[in-house]
Amino acid sequence: MIPGAFAYHRPSSVKEAVGLLSQFGDDARAIAGGHSLIPMMKLRLAAPGHLVDLAGVADLKGIREDSRDIVIGATTTQHELIGSDLLAKKIPILRETSLLIADPQVRYVGTLGGNVANGDPGNDMPAVMMCLNATYHAVGKSGERRIAAREFYQGAYFTALEPGEIVTAIRIPVPAAGHGHAYEKLKRKIGDYATAAAAVVLTMSGGKVASCSIGLTNVAETPLWAEEAARILTGSTLDAASVKKAVAAAEAITSPASDARGPATYRTKMAGVMLARALANAKARAGA
């Protein structure tokens, strides 16, 4: 219940934040909403000697259009995502997913950057980002670089971020107008991490799938981009046989943990069921 002691820093710029993280190295953690890190600190599963609070860095806020992309500041909260008319119109899967994360209080404070960057396999946004082919802007000692979401996740709590780097923004190419989307999340109760979840973004043309992208949540040590399953469906009418093949391909890349949500075999099957339901919902929402 009581965290260990630490020194608190509140930089007002990205440069200052990165400087502090470099200075204190492994002993420092960045904190945004804090609703992943602070619970861990209270259980003493994390005990950083320095916390670098990003809440005062104005540059990490904001949702803006940039050519064909939308760029979302890393400390944008789930509540702000949900309330954004721009996102509701252009990338509706974000709002759908956000409403399935945790509870109202956590959503007021929890950030998109936190959800995508800490490598927790239970977080919902990473699979959605992989599905959307998002790119993360990262800034560290050696400057800024961009990392594709599909290449970002390496293991449980293990990402492509270098020590001292923070994600400053998330860049998402706007899906085609008339796309279909769905985030289907099976959970024990509202607010829980997924037993299994599937993100689907697709476009239809003449009754056939013109493009398809699939992400899977919490059924492996990292979020999964189900490339093969999506390839199987492209060009199909989402007929039962194709869906069945795609589900099998998706199940094949899962390796979920057995926990109180269920044994691994069950969770693999549920990934498949969530995928099938997400495909049906996405199709229903898509333009012809």
Partner: protein, 166 residues
């Protein structure tokens, strides 16, 4: 660890105190400001008994450090009564509709419902249940809490309250 000074406005009053960086906001409110309305019911940020209103957001004060709340405007259950001292419509509604039994979840529940009604003044039952999904109750089964919030919503909007038939 050296203490730092924080200042914030709590229930309309400016406060200045020394805290350790690791002092949780819930402990700051309860132990240093002696506002024992918000309660602690868990250690994993699930139960919501510690909910306060911070800069216009419902926040679990057990998952915020006091230093993060420096400069904030905070409202707890102790600040919910109307300016003239009468009970807020929510406080009245919880009593009228038997929305509490042991009272432990009640401060967090009322403060959360307050913000919810600020953002949605006429919520459906489904919206209410979703809106309080971050607040656990072990006594009431939530049904009368929903009614209490509906009562308050009606009163705040100036419409007569119609209790749903069973």
């Amino acid at each position: 660890m050296a203490k730092s000074q924080v200042s914030m406005t709590v229930n309309g009053k400016k406060v200045e105190e020394l805290v350790e960086p690791r002092t949780l906001l819930i402990h700051f409110l309860r132990e240093q400001l002696r506002l024992t309305g918000p309660h602690i019911g868990c250690d994993t940020s699930h139960c919501g008994a510690c909910t306060v209103d911070l800069d216009g957001k419902s926040v679990k004060s057990c998952t915020v450090f006091a230093v993060q709340a420096n400069g904030a405007d905070i409202r707890t259950i102790e600040g919910m009564a109307n300016a003239d001292g009468t009970l807020h419509a929510l406080q009245e509604g919880f009593r009228e509709m038997h929305g509490l039994q042991c009272g432990f979840c009640t401060p967090g529940m009322i403060v959360r419902a307050y913000r919810m009604l600020q953002e949605n003044s006429n919520p459906t039952e489904e919206e209410i249940r979703f809106g309080i999904s971050g607040n656990l109750c072990r006594c009431t089964g939530y049904q009368n809490i929903v009614k209490a919030i509906q009562y308050a919503a009606a009163k705040l909007s100036g419409v007569p309250f119609q209790e749903a038939a069973e």
